[in-house]
């Protein structure tokens, strides 16, 4: 599971360097995200622009990470590709997560934590 983390503007930007978040990778994703977000700043932005495919296992893993992130912290998503976006829209999970078109926009807006 290739995830790259960098601190940016008081937030943690995590880029998913995997083409698929599916049943074969959901557990590794959850474990790695847990490690990376343990000491993270209050705001976490997950860049999904390299993920072409997400199934319900991958979606479940992202929800699980959101639930694990401690209270008062936020996890936002950026750069959803069309199929990934479709999964979020159909399951209405797009109403739960703050979703940015890309990371530039995610970091150019003013954020109130």
């Amino acid at each position: 599971m290739n995830l790259a983390a960098e601190e940016k503007n008081d937030a943690l930007l995590i880029t998913v360097h995997e083409p698929r978040l599916d049943a074969a990778s959901a557990i590794q994703f959850k474990d790695r995200m847990r490690e990376l977000t343990q000491t993270a700043p209050d705001r976490v932005v997950l860049d999904m622009s390299l993920v072409d495919f997400l199934d319900s296992s991958g979606l479940g893993a992202i929800v699980a990470v959101l639930k694990k992130i401690k209270q008062g912290k936020s996890m936002e998503l950026a750069g959803l590709t069309p199929t990934v976006q479709k999964v979020f829209r159909l399951t209405r999970m797009d109403t739960i997560f703050k979703i940015h078109p890309n990371t530039e926009i995610a970091f150019s807006e003013k954020h109130v934590l």
Binding site: A23, A24, A61, K67, P82, V87, T95, I96
Partner: protein
């Protein structure tokens, strides 16, 4: 006489199972083991086939997602993750839809009926959000004419996925 009958049987079998040669390029058949990595590889094969036949990307995504959910359910429930078994997949690209047939030798669906696939109401409270149970909802959203039957020890699922960008 016996040999003749056998021969006849073979011919009949072949006739029933094979598309005419000019149609074969629109079909993909693959058999693989019921584990998540094999499912991933099978989906990649399907995707290559659809791309090769110039299926628009969004339609490819739709087929891949619906199939992924059906196949994941087989790995997880019919074979209960730990039981090793085979999954057979056949897809046929038609003019405006993809026909899919999936069979396995795992456990039957409870009560032999397809799950209703209701979308769970999402709670405002983050800790109550569901982490699963989206599979059948997605299948029902993406696929049409979903059918399930049990033939001996086999589960057979068939469904169509309408292509939108044709």
């Amino acid at each position: 006489m016996k040999r003749q009958l056998e021969k006849k049987g073979r011919i009949r079998k072949r006739k029933r199972r094979t598309l005419p040669p000019e149609m074969q390029k629109y079909e993909l058949r693959t058999t693989f083991l019921s584990d998540p990595l094999s499912v991933r590889r099978a989906l990649e094969k399907v995707l290559l086939k659809l791309q090769h036949l110039k299926t628009p990307p969004q339609d490819c995504g739709k087929v891949e997602l619906a199939l992924a959910e059906v196949l994941n359910n087989i790995v997880e429930h019919a074979y209960c993750i730990t039981r090793e078994g085979k999954i057979e997949l056949r897809i046929t690209l038609e003019k405006q839809r993809v026909k899919c047939t999936v069979s396995d030798d795992g456990l039957p669906l409870p009560n032999s009926t397809l799950p209703s696939g209701q979308l769970q109401v999402l709670s405002n409270n983050t800790s109550d959000l569901p982490e699963g149970g989206f599979g059948w909802f997605l299948i029902r959203e993406l696929a049409d004419e979903i059918q399930y039957s049990r033939a001996g020890s086999k589960n057979i699922f068939s469904f169509h996925i309408r292509l939108e960008q044709f």
